[in-house]
């Protein structure tokens, strides 16, 4: 390398550094900001998560297995899965329908519908629970009708499912709607001119275009459905028969059971949450790559 070449490279490096200096923060500030966020994340997220697992296994693996496999825990897991398995598909179907008609058509009362969708986000889950107590209570018309026909809604599985649907209701719509609105209706029109029927258009044109948004909405909806506490607590109280996982954990914690027991059950919920998180990351990654394709 000649002296001249060396000088050119040196000049180039200096130039690069000066550009970096003018477009980024000083090194100290950067380190401080990163350190602060790492510290915050570990204090508020990582440490509690680890401590759940630590507490759960403190009394040994045998105790852990017994705690998670006892009848009450199993029943709570079943109830949580039941509520999730009904509310997620229900909200998926509802979300698709609502997002489709809001995003693709013009009609009267559209803005009212859009704001109605947000109600479960806006009000506290406890209020949501109370709402259903009034709706299905022993003094209400609906409550009397169901009682006369031999159905038990409150303090039973149906109310758990209903409030879970209510609370998780906006997740799917809210995820799909912006995507549908951004894509417009030209592709659907093209399909229509080419001879496709309504159902075909939905399956072959609309759905493939929004599939990642749908999945993302389902995952968020699922996470919330599994974790809902307040609203369910209001409608079923605290009976071992209708406990969901969050309620069961609370009961164990409040009761006289071994202090490790609630943590053991909590690991189940935490594991499901972590699984959801991994799925969510995957879908987000897929969505962004689908976007950069388009």
């Amino acid at each position: 390398m000649t002296e001249e070449e060396k000088q050119i490279i040196r000049k180039y490096n200096e130039h690069r550094k000066s550009i970096l200096r003018s477009t980024t923060e000083p090194r100290g500030v950067r380190i401080l900001l990163i350190a602060l966020s790492v510290l915050f994340m570990s204090l508020f997220l990582f440490v509690p998560l680890v401590s759940i697992f630590y507490e759960a296994f403190r009394s040994g693996a045998g105790f852990f297995l017994r705690a998670v496999s006892d009848r009450a825990a199993m029943s709570a897991l079943r109830m949580t899965l039941l509520a999730t398995c009904i509310s997620v598909p229900a909200n998926l179907v509802f979300g698709l329908c609502a997002a489709w008609c809001i995003g693709k058509f013009q009609f009267r009362g559209k803005s009212i519908l859009v704001s109605l969708i947000d109600i479960p986000f806006a009000i506290s889950p406890v209020i949501a629970g109370l709402l259903f107590i009034f709706l299905f209570g022993t003094n209400s018309l609906l409550g009397i009708w169901f009682r006369d026909h031999g159905y038990r809604i409150l303090y039973a599985a149906p109310s758990v499912v209903i409030v879970t649907i209510f609370v998780t209701f906006p997740f799917v719509v809210r995820e799909i709607l912006p995507v549908i609105q951004a894509q417009g209706t030209e592709e659907e029109q093209a399909a229509r001119v080419l001879g496709a029927r309504g159902w075909h258009i939905f399956w072959r044109v609309t759905l493939p275009n929004i599939r990642w948004a749908v999945l993302y909405g389902v995952i968020l909806c699922n996470a919330r459905a599994m974790g809902e506490f307040g609203a369910v607590m209001v409608v079923v109280g605290n009976s071992p028969k209708t406990n969901t996982l969050p309620l069961h954990i609370n009961a164990l914690y409040q009761g006289y059971a071994d202090p490790a027991a609630p943590f053991a059950v909590a690991t189940l919920l935490a594991l499901m949450a972590i699984l959801t998180l991994v799925l969510k990351c995957f879908v987000e990654w897929k969505m962004s790559s689908a976007e950069s394709d388009a």
Binding site: E186, E187, Q189, A190, A191, R192, V193, L194, G195, A196, R197, H200, R204, V205, P208, N209, D293, A294
Partner: protein
Amino acid sequence: MSIEVRHIVKTFGTFKALDDVSIRINTGELVALLGPSGSGKTTLLRIIAGLEVPDPTSGPIFFGGHDVGSQRIRDRGVGFVFQHYALFRHMSVYDNIAFGLTVKPRKVRLPKEKIRERVMELLHMIQLDNLAHRYPSQLSGGQRQRVALARALAVEPHVLLLDEPFGALDAKVRMELRGWLRRLHDEIHLTSVFVTHDQDEALELADRVAVMNNGKIEQFDTPDNVFHQPATAFVMNFLGQVNQFRGRMAGKGQVRIGKHRGRPAEMVLSRKNWTDDGAAAIFVRPHDLKIVRKPIEGRLCLPAKIERIHSAGAHVRVDLISENNENLVAEISHLDREQLRLEPGDSCYVTPTSVRVFDLIEQDDLVEQGAV
């Protein structure tokens, strides 16, 4: 297949997009709907396709003599090319083109191999044989446009409708595709209608041009006729650059433009059937405006000052300003410019060699437009 619409009206809220439009397009014709934005050209195209429903008071829509007004889109047999192509983004080029064939009811659907043959044929026609497995996002604008056209043609439509087919492309690709589309039309002779706001595109490509304004068709004629014999002041104004003078009709085929040395400048025109003493708009194309150094006896010569000279092009464009502060444009040859030794700032005279006069009383809209 011929297309005919009669007395079509379409309103969006209080806005009248189409105001009693009738047009008849012959079998195998290539017709352009030309007009500024908001003139209703796209609405008319979408109504022909069935993507938009005309107001109930409208007349019928005929395809080859059959009323298709109440038919569903898929039964009309139209091929539609959207302005932004509207390709299915999650499907390959092959699947995009095959879509119309694969969504047909099982009874009339072609077998898979036949569909494959047809798609390959179309891919060959649009010269994209080896891009069958690409996705729309991996194609250039011009390629997407051709895929959209192949997709529309795959279902063998009776009529082809194109909404601003070259609107989103750069100038060079536009020119190429324009020639390609004309040759394609000459080969397959499909009745085609395209919407454009680009007059060059309409005049070069179409057999006939419908010039639209404010929801009405102002003139429907061959490119030659709309350019050389514009029916209305709007058409004259819209097609190509034009100089406009205000004047008065003085009877006996005379028209007065402005004032020259205190006296009205007059010229005698052959057209005689106008209302006497009405306000008139006088149009002169830039190439019909001659520049002279000295006034010519017996001709209308208006004094003007040269503002700018653009000589980069086949002709020299001269921007002038008249005594009455009207901006004028003249187009002269390079030879003329040299002989006259024109320079910016020079004083000279302009004399029209050909004019068109429109009656301002019948053409209310014109008063608004002022000098060009």
